[in-house]
């Protein structure tokens, strides 16, 4: 092939090599066309002249070029990933720093609302108002839901609005959202996008036993299960303390963390009064929504693990209401009681004064003949809440004791009637019938009507309850002085 290409047996091929003048002129395009053609034809067959032409090209005389310096910005191609990683690390560190320095305590306005003074609620479970609350809960803010309730108070709603307005201008990261139920989707409490928050609204239609079900209750407590869920607070520390209630998607934000900077484990709020336990089990109390905290001197032996509200009403329609010796569904309670706030409590003892646990106490409305069976707890106490005002009869039975029957026990609205029972040793078939009157019951009809017209005021009623890891239960009215149950 190459012989054919370089044989010179083609038109225009020259038998002699072109001289240096011809080749240089060829390289510089200075040859006439016919001579250029001849040189090209010769170059096609003469590798030596081709090499000469190739070597004599002008670029060969150029001085050896220095190795091209790498442009300085090429180093960025290597630095870009490292810079990105460094930026991510810095961002992460800043986020962690903010998270550690700032803490948010999520509180739900309903929890605060629950701690308000007793609110006369309409017949809750039976009333259409409470039943319509549940679907509306997913569509409207709880403040509006509360406003729909006929018994909601204006002051309470204003407080809710004030509290719920705080996080609007202060978005919080999802890391601070309550992990179990009260998890706000974002910082816009008025937004409708709060499925996680609305879920734990404790609807009446789907009752679920709250964690407080197994908690021991004394006869003096008046605790609603929803309010015992103080740990619904998220336990993450944020820049802002936030408390979240389970029955409302409106988290309340207060901007003052706990003293010591620890994560709040449990928080109970009663209006602007907030009782909180931090990660070191120290108890703090605040009267001004967390602006100022006061350390609570611990009279208990163990470590405080949970705080809750004692004073509560059926505002939230919580599925179960703990009563002495058991749980009474609020729906049932609502059926028998118009949520007047009246309650009947007492202690069942024997003749020696020893309490009788697991005694059956039957509370029967003399007017409607409806009855409610209770069981005394380990302290021998029983409690019947939400009783309609009226006259009741009490039947107490315990194995090895004679049953006792009390009649004409007056229960008045918004009052807590106390009726202790003393059982005598004997067979179950034996019974003792006593015509008794409630200690707190007014003796005359005039006094009874006066009591009905009197404003609801329960002096020195415990507000906060506290549980320790040793199982102790403590109650307090002001959050600072505590009494053991």
């Amino acid at each position: 092939m190459s012989e054919l290409l370089q044989s010179g047996q083609f038109p225009g091929a020259s038998g002699q090599h072109p001289d240096a003048d011809q080749l240089s002129a060829f390289v510089e395009q200075a040859l006439p066309a016919h001579e250029r053609r001849q040189v090209l034809a010769h170059l096609a067959v003469c590798p030596g002249c081709r090499e000469t032409v190739a070597l004599s090209l002008p670029h060969l005389e150029a001085p050896a070029r220095e190795p091209a310096r790498r442009q300085w910005f090429r180093a960025w191609t290597i630095l870009v990933p490292s810079a990105a990683a460094l930026s991510a690390a810095i961002f992460f560190a800043i986020s962690v720093h903010h998270t550690n320095n700032a803490r948010k305590i999520i509180i739900q306005p309903a929890q605060i609302a629950a701690s308000q003074p007793p609110v006369p609620v309409q017949p809750s479970a039976e009333s259409p108002a409470l039943r319509t609350v549940v679907p509306e809960d997913k569509k409207s803010p709880p403040a509006h839901r509360l406003a729909d309730a006929p018994a909601a108070k204006t002051a309470e709603r204003q407080q809710l609005d004030a509290l719920s307005a705080a996080p609007q201008a202060r978005p919080f990261p999802e890391a601070i959202i309550a992990p179990e139920s009260a998890r706000p989707a974002d910082a816009q409490p008025e937004s409708e996008a709060h499925p996680a928050v609305q879920a734990p609204a404790a609807p009446v239609a789907a009752p679920a036993p709250p964690p407080v079900t197994n908690a021991p209750l004394s006869s003096a407590t008046q605790t609603v299960a929803a309010n015992s869920q103080a740990p619904i607070l998220n336990t993450t520390s944020t820049a802002l303390g936030m408390l979240a209630a389970p029955s409302t998607p409106h988290p309340v934000v207060f901007t003052h963390p706990l003293p010591g900077g620890q994560v709040p484990l449990s928080v109970a709020a009663n209006g602007s009064a907030i009782l909180a336990i931090d990660a070191h089990n120290a108890v703090f109390f605040s009267r001004d929504s967390g602006k100022h905290w006061t350390a609570v001197t611990a009279p208990w032996q163990g470590r405080a693990v949970r705080v809750a509200l004692v004073a509560d009403r059926t505002v939230h329609g919580t599925a179960f209401a703990p009563v002495a010796g058991g749980m009474l569904p609020l729906a049932d309670a609502a059926k028998t009681s118009p949520a007047s706030g009246a309650s009947l409590t007492g202690i069942v003892t024997d003749l020696t004064g020893a309490t009788i646990p697991n005694a059956n106490v039957t509370v029967r409305d003399s007017a409607t003949n409806t009855e409610r069976t209770l069981t005394t707890d380990s302290n021998g106490s029983y409690r019947a809440d939400n009783l309609p005002p009226g006259s009741y009869t009490l039947d107490a039975q315990a194995p090895g004791f004679k049953s006792q029957h009390l009649t004409d026990i007056a229960v008045e609205a918004s009052r807590q009637s106390v009726q202790n029972l003393t059982l005598e040793v004997g067979s179950v078939s034996q019974s003792v019938e006593v015509a008794a009157e409630s200690e707190a019951a007014p003796r005359t009809r005039a006094a009874r009507s006066k009591a009905l017209k009197a404003p609801a005021a329960v002096p020195s009623q415990p507000v906060f309850s506290l549980s320790t890891d040793t199982g102790e239960q403590w109650i307090s009215t002001d959050g600072l002085t505590w009494q053991r149950r």
Binding site: L5, F10, D19, A20, A25, L40, R50, P58, E61
Partner: protein, 318 residues
């Protein structure tokens, strides 16, 4: 630098120095105005070159190159004028003045081309010492230390001024380097050279293909032929070929692609004209391309023995 003007081996020109301008005009046949114009452009007077010598150089260059016209074409006056104006007159005067041994010309030559000559030599050889040696050797050769028939002979007399003097020097350097390489490589031991294998008898089916290839390549255009050879046999890059023929390398690529396609078609036509059907011709083209490739490589290696076989003048000077 020794002066060359007073030496007995000066070049003999038909027009003697100091001859009147009219006589010069009459001898070279140039219009006086044109000669004055060319003389002014050449700036040859400081080089020690006379007007008559300059005019004679022009005449000799024009006659040698037939004024850039084909050999069988007589140049008209306008063509002559255009030819003279297209020359590198200053460099032509410098080269011829140096060839005549004029001291001012050599001084200018050294100031202008000495450094570039050494630089080009180093670039061509790839070695500093060899480049300097090559440049010194060429410088001595250009100075005319070699005499033929009692007269100094300088390669600078072959410079016609069509290209630049620097380009001419580079090409001459390459030729000298190739001569040097050829001389030194003759000392290679003979046992290291394998005797070329006796070509085996070509199969009958490839004979037709070879004939068709021969016919196809014979009728190739010289530039296309050069492209094929430079690209496929010399393995030159597109950039090198583009620098050689002053065409953009993309154009070289396109031309090569088109050229190969045309060659394929032409080969098919030639095979068909030799009596093969188109299918048989395509089968012959694609039957055993590796054999063709192997043959090409073998032929390429054997084709380099004829380099500079008929170079005249330069080999004598080397």
């Amino acid at each position: 630098m020794d002066t060359a003007s007073s030496k007995p081996g000066d070049l003999v020109l038909p027009v003697q120095a100091g001859e009147p301008s009219s006589t010069v005009h009459s001898l070279v046949g140039l219009p006086p105005s044109l000669l004055d114009e060319l003389w002014a452009q050449a700036d040859a007077e400081p080089l020690g070159l006379t007007r008559a010598e300059f005019a004679q150089s022009l005449v000799s260059v024009g006659a040698k190159l037939n004024y850039n016209l084909p050999p069988d074409v007589a140049a008209a006056a306008a063509q002559k004028i255009a030819f003279f104006r297209s020359l590198h007159l200053a460099e032509l005067a410098l080269a011829h003045a140096c060839a005549l041994g004029r001291e001012p010309a050599w001084e200018r030559f050294l100031s202008l081309h000495r450094a570039s000559l050494i630089q080009s030599a180093i670039a061509i050889t790839g070695f500093s010492s060899l480049g300097e040696e090559l440049a010194d050797s060429l410088y001595a050769e250009l100075y005319g230390l070699r005499e033929t028939d009692g007269q100094r002979r300088s390669p600078l007399m072959s410079y016609t001024g069509r290209g630049s003097l620097a380009g001419w020097l580079r090409t001459t350097l390459v030729q000298r380097f190739r001569d040097h390489h050829r001389r030194t490589h003759r000392e290679a031991p003979l046992e290291g050279i394998d005797s070329p294998a006796t070509p085996a008898a070509a199969p009958a089916e490839t004979t037709a293909l070879s004939a068709a290839v021969a016919r196809t390549l014979t009728h190739l255009d010289p530039e296309d032929r050069f492209l094929l050879v430079a690209y496929y046999l010399d393995r030159q890059t597109l950039l090198q070929i583009a620098h050689t023929i002053h065409v953009h390398e993309a154009t070289i690529s396109r031309r090569l692609k088109r050229l190969v396609a045309d060659l394929h078609k032409q080969l098919l036509r030639n095979l068909c004209s030799s009596g093969l059907s188109r299918a048989a011709a395509e089968e012959a083209l694609g039957a055993d391309p590796r054999d063709i490739e192997i043959n090409l490589r073998a032929l390429l290696q054997n084709s380099q023995v004829s380099a500079f076989q008929s170079q005249k003048g330069m080999s004598d000077l080397a």
